[in-house]
Amino acid sequence: MTEHKPLLEITGLSVGYPSAPRPAVEHLSLRVEPGQVAALVGQSGSGKSTTATAVLRQLPPEARITAGAIRLDGLDLTQLSETRMCGVRGKHVALVPQDPGSSLNPVKRVGEQVAEVLRRHCRADRRSAARQAVELLDRMGLDDPGRRARQYPHELSGGMRQRVLIAQAVATQPRLILADEPTSALDATAQKAILDLLDTIVRTSGAGLLLITHDLAVAAERSDTVYVLHAGRVVESGATDDVFAEPRHAHTRELLASVPDPQAPVRAPAPGSGAPLLTVTGLSKQYRTGWRTPGPPAVDAVDLVAGRGQTTAVVGESGSGKTTLARMVLRLTEATAGEIDFAGLDVRAVRGRELRAFRRRAQIVYQNPYSSLDPRFTVGQIVYEPFRALPARQRPDPTEVVPDLLTRVGLEHALVTRRPRQLSGGQRQRVAIARAIATQPDLLVLDEAVSALDVSVQAQVLRLLRQLQDELGLTYLFISHDIAVVRQMAHHVLVMRAGRVVEAGPAAQLLDTPRHPYTRALLDAVPRGRRRGTATTEDRRTPAR
């Protein structure tokens, strides 16, 4: 390689917090070349986002850059005054943030938010900035951009909001774009569209892109070079194709092994099972939007049969009605029409004592293990809590059931006195599962139960769930937006869109030979991370140079 200056060159960067024993980032070095994509991959807590915020010089006030340099075209950003850094942010370095839901100001029209950057950095007056903002939204592929520009963030979908954020980032034609998990909050179809858009921008503008992601499939498919981060250090780096073809570091291999294989065979049905436990007929939910005006149905005449001991997966993008469906089945939300039969019990009609008995038989595990566990309870109290619904003399001895439940979900007994914040995300979700199986339910609703977890932890929790299902004969209603995860769990799949079931069938049939165009689109949008040994030369992207 000839001697040249890279666009971004980070050398020996260390970032520490006074309260933490170990630095968040340690001796990190990386380069981003113009017109190329460098991926920074790692699990949560590995220091990915700290690196991005260090480049933008937006670290929290208590964090310190203890060593190293961050050079943008040779200019060391760590040495700039705050005033000069203000002129760099947004103009030369732009950010595409993680969560489009909370990254736009809710009380400003999106057009104004895009125009604001132009007015700040490009000396555009109000009118020309507004005009350029509309043009940018148009280039980002928003339909009817003139109208969109006058809308507020809550009126746009997640994918549209991310397009607005990208428009805002590229408005000043920055040289470096930092994309911090730009698609982790989006469903597969929106994810693909956003990644395609970023790709096009990099190719046509010659900007460099630092793509921060926990998703190895995304990194493999979209980057030219990759840096694998583990506990604040780069453990492996190189050309993406080389690293994924022949990973040298154990951590990289571990990460790769946990990526769900989009071609993996689906689960064989558990023997001797399948008699229906839950039968849902014509279930609908309609929220009122006005005095007497019914809104569009959130769930529209859904039929579903969940076989005993099997996993019935409900797939669909955010807002498709999956969670509302699950909540109606558990009687956490009242349905407006339809029937729910649970082993002969009319779920929509049960009241009082019967309803409470039903609740013990049908449990739920939520997506976010951070907010679904009471922070003031210990692990032991959380797991034992379902028994407190029983009359005192029927309650089992906590010293017997709690260790047993913890063992079942693969947690050490020593954790029993810990509180949720002292646990990792995976441990928390295991606690939530232990709580859910405490009352020996028949049905377990898993509402995006592994979506917030890192891939390697996700794989472990999925393994645990399969094992528990085999041991306890549990019936799962598995809600997910992630087809790759569904493939590992489901015996039976329903695809939902805008409240309706567009396709349903056995997992093997539906996932391998989808009939409905929407199912096909969902399946096609799954990033095919070129896994070791399965990649062919043709599907490798030639680096844009």
Partner: protein, 319 residues
Amino acid sequence: MRPGYVMTRLAQAALVLWAAWTLSFVVLYLLPGDPVRILASGGLENPDLDPARLAQLRADLGFDRPIALQYLTHLADALQGDLGRSITSGQPVVEVIARAIPVTLPLALASLAVAVPVALTIGLLANAVRARWAAELAFSTPALIVSVPTFWLGLVLLQLFSFRWHLFPAASTDSLAGLVLPAVTLGLPNGAILGQVFARSLSQTLAEPYVQVAIAKGLRRSRVIVAHALRNALIPTLTVLGLVVGNTLAGSVIVETVFARPGLGRLIARAVTVQDIPVVQGAVLLGAVVFVLTTLVVDLLYPLIDPRIAHTAPAGTRS
């Protein structure tokens, strides 16, 4: 906004007014003590009262009829805008109150003119100043101010600014200068409460992802606060502002007593001591009207500040 929403709110308002009126009626009748006896005693401790005269007075004032009948008669009168006559002075309650309003209204407005700038200053100091100690100070001032008893604050202000330095008159209802000290006494604690909420709300807003994105756009800190954080932080502050305005009437009881202003506060204080039921009820009704109106105004302001709040549902859209 839909006509259905406005109708619902008006119905709610009517319900609140009726409940306030009824509750005050019940409470006042349950109180120990006999308004007729207080009236006839003329302020003496244990006067010798002629039972026949007491009975006559009782009958004249309608206190001898069954309580349900009294309630219904008064309610019917109230619905026609007749709130009865003051037991002590014999004047119509509506007139008594109408005379006191022009004294209290300027005080209430002036106290708001003190409270709002105080709140803004506290909130901005707590969040926009880089010096850590200044921010800490701004965060802790509200607790300090609120913990000072209002009447004591009023007395101290009087002592210093009127008697020692002769800057403002001690008691003057017709000059603007006379309004300053009472307005500060009433406005300072209100401003502190508002400032506390505003400071917390602003610091929470500044931690939001969209504020980080705004900083990443290269905006200067002043612009980030003014253009992005301020409006979002205003929503909880506005809720509390509504309550503060509603509470001004209660606050005026102390302030008007200290500064000897013949306003609604003084009127209420005196009417309660002598159990002048019609006047107290009139004041309660007025307080309820003020509360209902301010909540309505606040609720109508929400969607102007936050486009996510739209008055489409019949009720329960208030955040």
